[in-house]
Each structure stands twice: as structure tokens, then as C-alpha cells.
């Protein structure tokens, strides 16, 4: 339950310690709001303030079956589209929760004053990829930024009342784990260099694995992936690591890939290549029903194959010249400005050359429906965890997943505390913080950009849009060779090498094609692989196991 939830009352205040939240994007802010509203205090750690989180980059919108467009949409259809988009790899019970909570999340955001686009007193919904009905709320082309502003204002209220304490230039360098339980977190103040341990249950909201592929993704440089790598090497279970979403329409700018939002195609944009001197609108020809708005994995793959055809040019273009002035003004203003600023291309007058780029990580920290990880007292929500999106995330579902996930984790903490079910970790609660001397923990030393970039190049060879056993094995060999080369790698470097191995082994073990994971040596989807790939690091070895997906429970 998200809105209108009765307070649990003040009797629970004070007799439990503060919850640590790592990351202040949608997932972190959502968790903080619910905890604070229920009288629970939390510490909100982030490398930089919320205004700088990747969440502010989201453009296109947020899915919720509000049915304001007279299309008879319902959460059940949102559920169906999400499961189908993820090629039935997601937990149906979690997706059911997502699609139902979506309606409440949308109402909550409106209560917070997010200026979603409205007409005649009702929220306007737009089309987004992989969905047949209009279901996406938006605020021009900066939906993420506009939603974040409202959430930041809301959290500020709780900061002032002392329930939320912000640590906005603080990096979590490790989670303190012993005997299968989380005891707290180790935090470095990036401004002063001071290092401290903070006890308590912890919700990880630290974003996707962007920093494993520096310069090659649409995301933010803040999400380095170091914490994920550290957690994995400490034995935390990760799942579906092979599922990496390539967004079909991106352009390279220094240090990253610039996204051309799916909204541009939602408004009528058409992909084409030149064939015999004529533009060929390949998506429309091959997929008459959804055309340019097929799920992202399908579009990226079609672009990959089409650009390699002998009879076609090797550049794919996005034609946006037919969009109305109103669409540019009301929905895609920032996009046009960016294309002119960085590329001197005016999309109103000429086509935009686009390429697929890494955009979202469906895989990550393995969590259950309540966002509990394999470690007691440790939760994960948002893009850092693997939930809701299966083998492919639908546009508009990830901000939603982060908001619902943050709430779900917070709610589970609230409920377990309420039930007096204190996990072991709580013996540290309330005992204050413990300064650590910087020399004490090797996790504090940064990874060298040389190794980071090299690993990224190797991973891209094995984890491209189209993969096969050979390219994956070759990449794995290179990772092992790199690992063997230098016994003096620092801890973060070693952790990255281990995580890289897990990503490649996950891809190698899934001998089928499903969603974002396309293997040219196993091009078919295999029902036997309709299972979660779970990766774990044990006794110095990366192990991959496949776990069956829960059946949908009747409600």
C-alpha cells in the first residue's frame, strides 16, 4: 500500500536505529519518503546530491494504466505487456505488484505536484515501446528531472524534521557483512576524506552498472559499479547479469552516449536505411503492427542486422522531420536543443544518424518480491537490483520499478520492525558511528582507469547486441588473462575482474536467445531456459545456477 496508509504511530520511533539508504535517485528517495512518513529515521548517502543522480536524465515518462485516453486500459494489461516485453523471465507476482502500484504511484506523484501534461483536467498518456495502449505519463521531455524535483522537495520536509539525514558527498565503499547478515555500511566523505561505519539495515539504491562500461552508456558517471563489484565478490547473489539493454537510438558524445528518447518514435519518428538510393523503413515493413515502437531489443537487433546487409548503407537514420511543431515544443524541446548543441543537426529539417547504445541493466543484485537480497537486513531497489523487467525492460517501467521497489523495501523494514523481528544486525543499532582510518580498508583505493577501460572493451566483445559462445569464451579468456597478469591489482580492480567474469559466464550459460540476450549460435528461445540465472562467488569461484521462476499466485 502506498498512499493513504495509516501511520504505525510513534511507539516505533526511537527503539530502532536509522536505516541506511545508499543512493538518492528515485529508489532512494522513495524509500526515504515512506520510512520518514512512518516515523522511521534514515540516512541518505549519495556520491553527489539527488539533483545529480542518473534519475534526472529520464525523459520519456512513467507507465501507469490510468486509462485517461478512452482505450479501456487496465493494470492487468500493463502486467501482460511487462511480462511479455521481458519474455516471461520476470517474477509474475512482482510484476503484478508493479502494475497495480503504478496507479497509486501516479496518484502520489500528482499529490506531490509533479506537473504531468494534462488536458481537460486529466493526465495525458502517450505511447511507448512494447505497449499497445497509451499508458505513459510525461512532463515534456524531462519527466525524470521534473519528478525528481518534487520528490526532493518532499524529502526536504523530512530532513527538516530530522527523520532524514542527508550525506550528499559520501560514497559507500562497502557493506559490512558477517555471517550472512548486514551490520551496516562503510562510508567515505569525498570532501574531507574521513571514513566512518554506520550501523543498521541497509537499502542499496546505487543505480545500474553504468561504470563498468565508461563512455559507452547513456547513464551517469556517478554509478561506477564499484559497490556492486564489491558486493558480488563478498558473496551477494546477483541475477540475470547477461541482460543488458541496448537502446536503439543513441549518438556518441565525449564520455557517454546521448539518448534520443523513444518518445521521438512515439510521436511518429521513423527509422530507415538507404537501400538502392531510397530510404527503406525496415521496421515498418517487418513489424506492421508496432513498427518503430517494437520493444528495444527487437529494434536494436534489426538495426544491427540491417546495417550489415550488403544492399543497405551502414548508417541507420531516424527521421523526425514529420513531427509537428507542437510535438517539438511540448514534448521534445530539450532533445532538439541537444542535437543542435552537440551535433549541429536540426532534427526538424534533417535525419539523425543513430546507433544502439547501452542504456539499462535488467540484471543486478538478486532480490525477492520484498526487495530483500541474499543477505539478512540488506535490501536493494532501483536499477541496481534485478526485478520486474526480466529479459528486457519496457520504456517507462524503470522509474516506476525504482519507486515501487524503494517503497517495497522500506515497507518490509517497517513491517519487520513492527513485528519485533529484529535480525542479528541490530545489536549494533543506536551505538553511533565508528571512525575508520583510511589505511585500514583496501576498498578505499580507486580502480585505475586503464584497467577499467580495458575491461569495458573486453566485455563489449562478449556482451554485444549479438553474441555467441565463441565471442563470450574469447572475452572470458581475456578477462582471466588480465587477472593473471598482475598480482598487485587493488581490491576494486580485483572485484571488477570477478564481476566481469560473472557477467560473461552468465551470458555463456544461457544457451538460448531471449529479450536483450541474443545468441547467434542459439537463436531460438528455449522454454528450458525460462529461468533466472543466479551468479554467486564462492570459494574463489564464480558459479552460475538457473532457478525456476515462481508461478503467479492467485489473489
Amino acid at each position: 500500500m502506498l498512499t493513504g496508509m495509516p501511520g504505525f504511530g510513534a511507539e516505533y520511533m526511537g527503539d530502532h536505529g536509522a536505516v541506511n539508504i545508499i543512493g538518492a535517485g528515485f529508489a532512494g528517495l522513495s524509500a526515504a519518503c515512506l520510512l520518514a512518513r512512518e516515523g522511521f529515521s534514515c540516512r541518505l548517502f549519495s556520491v553527489q546530491p539527488s539533483e545529480r543522480a542518473q534519475s534526472v536524465l529520464a525523459e520519456g515518462g512513467l507507465n501507469a494504466a490510468l486509462d485517461t485516453m478512452g482505450e479501456d486500459d487496465r493494470p492487468e494489461e500493463h502486467y501482460n505487456d511487462t511480462l511479455k516485453g521481458g519474455v516471461f523471465l520476470a517474477d509474475p507476482n512482482a510484476v503484478k505488484r508493479l502494475s497495480e502500484e503504478a496507479v497509486r504511484v501516479a496518484a502520489w506523484l500528482q499529490e506531490l505536484g509533479v506537473p504531468f501534461h494534462m488536458k481537460n483536467g486529466r493526465v495525458v498518456l502517450r505511447n511507448f515501446g512494447g505497449q499497445k495502449k497509451k499508458r505513459t505519463l510525461y512532463s515534456r521531455s524531462s519527466t525524470g528531472k521534473i519528478m525528481m524535483t518534487a520528490l526532493i522537495d518532499e524529502v526536504r520536509k523530512y530532513e527538516a524534521s530530522g527523520l532524514v539525514e542527508r550525506f550528499p558527498h559520501h560514497e559507500c565503499v562497502r557493506v559490512l557483512i558477517a555471517g550472512g547478515s548486514c551490520f551496516g555500511v562503510r562510508i567515505k566523505d569525498l570532501y574531507t576524506g574521513a571514513v566512518c561505519d554506520y550501523p543498521g539495515k541497509t537499502i542499496l539504491c546505487c543505480g545500474g552498472l553504468t561504470g563498468i562500461f565508461p563512455g559507452m552508456t547513456t547513464g551517469s558517471a556517478l554509478n561506477t559499479g564499484d559497490l556492486a563489484a564489491c558486493l558480488f565478490s563478498e558473496g551477494v547473489v546477483f541475477s540475470n547479469l547477461e541482460m543488458i539493454q541496448y537502446h536503439p537510438t543513441t549518438l556518441g558524445i565525449p564520455g557517454k552516449r546521448l539518448l534520443v528518447s523513444e518518445a521521438a518514435r512515439g510521436e511518429g519518428g521513423r527509422l530507415f536505411v538507404m537501400r538502392d538510393g531510397e530510404p527503406w523503413y525496415f521496421m515498418e515493413e517487418k513489424y506492421p503492427e508496432l513498427g518503430n515502437l517494437m520493444p528495444r531489443d527487437v529494434v536494436s537487433r534489426e538495426m544491427y542486422f540491417t546495417a550489415r546487409r550488403e544492399d543497405c548503407g551502414d548508417t541507420v537514420y531516424l527521421d523526425l522531420t514529420m513531427l509537428s511543431d507542437a510535438a517539438w515544443e511540448e514534448k521534445l524541446k530539450d532533445l532538439r536543443e541537444e542535437l543542435i548543441h552537440y551535433f549541429s543537426i536540426d532534427p526538424m529539417t534533417g535525419p539523425v544518424p543513430v546507433q544502439p547504445g547501452i542504456h539499462y541493466f535488467m540484471g543486478g543484485i538478486d532480490v525477492d518480491i520484498d526487495h530483500r537480497t541474499s543477505i539478512n537486513g540488506l535490501y536493494a531497489a532501483g536499477e541496481c537490483c534485478s526485478q520486474y523487467h526480466g529479459a528486457n525492460r519496457l520504456g517507462g517501467n524503470s522509474m516506476l520499478g525504482a519507486l515501487v521497489g524503494g517503497h517495497a523495501a522500506a515497507l518490509n523494514i517497517i513491517n519487520t520492525e513492527k513485528a519485533g523481528d529484529m535480525p542479528e544486525a541490530d545489536h549494533l543499532t543506536g551505538s553511533g558511528l565508528y571512525p575508520v582510518s583510511p589505511e585500514d580498508d583496501p576498498a578505499l583505493a580507486e580502480a585505475s582507469p586503464v584497467l577499467v577501460n580495458r575491461l569495458s572493451d573486453i566485455l563489449l566483445e562478449g556482451l554485444g547486441i549479438v553474441r555467441d559462445g565463441q565471442s563470450i569464451s574469447a572475452a572470458l579468456e581475456k578477462v582471466r588473462a588480465a587477472a593473471g597478469e598482475n598480482p598487485d591489482y587493488n581490491l576494486r580492480e580485483k572485484n571488477r575482474l570477478i564481476l566481469a567474469e560473472a557477467m560473461l559466464k552468465s551470458a555463456g550459460s544461457r544457451r538460448e536467445s531471449r529479450g536483450a540476450h541474443y545468441r547467434s549460435d542459439y537463436p531460438e528461445t528455449d522454454e528450458n531456459f525460462r529461468r533466472t540465472s543466479a551468479a554467486c562467488y564462492e570459494d574463489g569461484e564464480v558459479r552460475i545456477a538457473f532457478r525456476s521462476i515462481p508461478e503467479r499466485r492467485e489473489s
Binding site: 536524465l57 505536484g113 518534487a150 522537495d153 520536509k157 574531507t192 551517469s220
Partner: protein, 243 residues
């Protein structure tokens, strides 16, 4: 193209600042300050103009597409975003100077501690008391106001702002304006009073801030809008304020 980056360095908050000049060469005809800083830091052979090796330059960045305000600094004497500031060839070798924002306490190299901006909003109680009402009239203003990056560039050029003073500066304008646009009149008294005292009264309307705002926020319009609601108490007049 070849340029010299002249950067004001400082090891930490307590150390004295000093200048370093770094040669930077690229094939690109046009590039951003951010891409130059990234390239220099990733170069393991980096040397200054005197051939001396140096530690990576500390600066903050996140989105690299001028949407997060992280990389604000003073570029050739003017505050701006490193990922926005483009350097293009002029034929002859030129020098580009980089300094941290000076309105805020220094942290290290190009990083300044902008915490006071966020503390200020907390102190002035800039949040919703509940009961926000979305209306089509308010949508545009609320949208524009929500776009503020909290980068601090406007505070850097404002003649009336100084950290710790009673004027919050225009970094507070966006957050105030969104809430004032959306709150029903009966619920906005406290916020209006706070706005009048800490934004309206301190601002001299020179609009130096508008010219540097990297988000291109129409500060003038937001001011007129919020003044109408908070100072003149005329919400209907505010609704008529258009672009």
C-alpha cells in the same frame, strides 16, 4: 587543435591555491571543457607545460549532457557547466582558464562545496505543506521552475548574494515558484512570506543571473509569477504571466 588549460588548483580546503598550465591537443575541431578534463585525467603520461607530471584534476561531473548541474565552475571568468562549454578552433593556440565557483567554500581543485544552497532551502521551509493542486494553468510554470539544476551559477554572478546572508538568491527561485504555482491561495501564506523576505526583498532585478543560467530558465518570468502570488497576492494575475 591545441589549447592550454590554466587551472586554479588546491589540494584541499586548507591548502593555498596555485595555478597549473596544462597543454591539451585533440583532433576535434570543437570539444567541451568536460571532455578535455576527462582526457587529461585518463592520460597516464600527463605533464604540465613545464614537463612536470601531476595528480589528476579533481572536479565533479555526472550526466555530461548539461542536465545535472554537477560540473559547474568558472570558465574564462564566467560561471558555466564544463560539459556545456564548447571550445572551438580559432587558429591560434589559446588559453582557457578554469576555477572553482568562488561563492562557495573550496573543497579541492575545481570542486566547491555547494551544500549551503541546499541548507538554505531547508531553512526556508521550501516544501509542500500538502494539498498541491495540479492545474493546466500552472503546468507550464511548474515545469519551468522544476528544471532548475541547483548548479549555483546564478549565485556566482549575483551582486546581492553572499553565502550566509539573508538573500537566498535565485537558486531558491525555482523551488519556491513551483510550490507557489501549485498551492491554493489559502495554503500558501507561510511560503509566500518566506519567499517575500528571502527572495523578493533581496533581489535587485539586474538579471545578471538570467544570462548565465545554463538551463536557460526564464528567471524574469518566474520572478514576475512568484511576485504576483506571494507579494501582491494575486494568483489570477500570475496565471496570465506567459512566456
Amino acid at each position: 587543435m591545441k589549447i592550454i588549460l590554466k587551472i586554479l588548483r588546491r589540494k584541499d580546503a586548507a591548502s593555498e591555491p596555485y595555478w597549473i598550465s596544462i597543454p591539451y591537443e585533440t583532433d576535434e575541431a570543437e570539444f567541451s571543457v568536460a571532455s578535455a578534463l576527462r582526457a587529461i585525467n585518463e592520460d597516464t603520461e600527463r605533464r604540465d607545460v613545464n614537463g612536470e607530471p601531476f595528480e589528476p584534476i579533481r572536479w565533479e561531473c555526472s550526466c555530461l549532457q548539461k542536465k545535472c548541474g554537477s560540473c559547474a565552475m568558472v570558465i574564462d571568468g564566467k560561471p558555466g557547466l564544463a560539459c556545456d562549454a564548447m571550445i572551438s578552433g580559432t587558429g591560434k593556440e589559446r588559453t582557457v582558464t578554469l576555477e572553482p565557483l568562488k561563492t562557495f567554500p573550496p573543497v579541492a581543485d575545481l570542486i566547491a562545496d555547494r551544500s549551503s544552497m541546499f541548507e538554505e532551502l531547508k531553512k526556508l521551509k521550501v516544501w509542500s505543506p500538502g494539498g498541491l493542486k495540479l492545474s493546466e494553468e500552472a503546468e507550464e510554470t511548474a515545469y519551468d521552475a522544476s528544471r532548475c539544476l541547483q548548479c549555483g551559477c546564478c549565485l556566482e554572478v549575483c551582486p546581492n548574494f553572499h553565502a550566509g546572508g539573508s538573500f537566498a538568491g535565485n537558486a531558491a527561485l525555482g523551488p519556491f515558484t513551483r510550490l507557489l504555482a501549485e498551492l491554493p491561495k489559502k495554503d500558501n501564506k507561510e511560503l509566500s512570506a518566506s519567499y517575500s523576505k528571502y527572495v523578493f526583498e533581496g533581489c535587485g532585478k539586474s538579471l545578471a543571473c538570467r544570462d548565465v543560467c545554463p538551463a536557460g530558465i526564464d528567471i524574469d518570468r518566474l520572478l514576475v509569477h512568484s511576485n504576483a502570488i506571494a507579494v501582491w497576492r494575486r494568483k489570477s494575475a500570475a496565471d496570465k504571466v506567459k512566456n
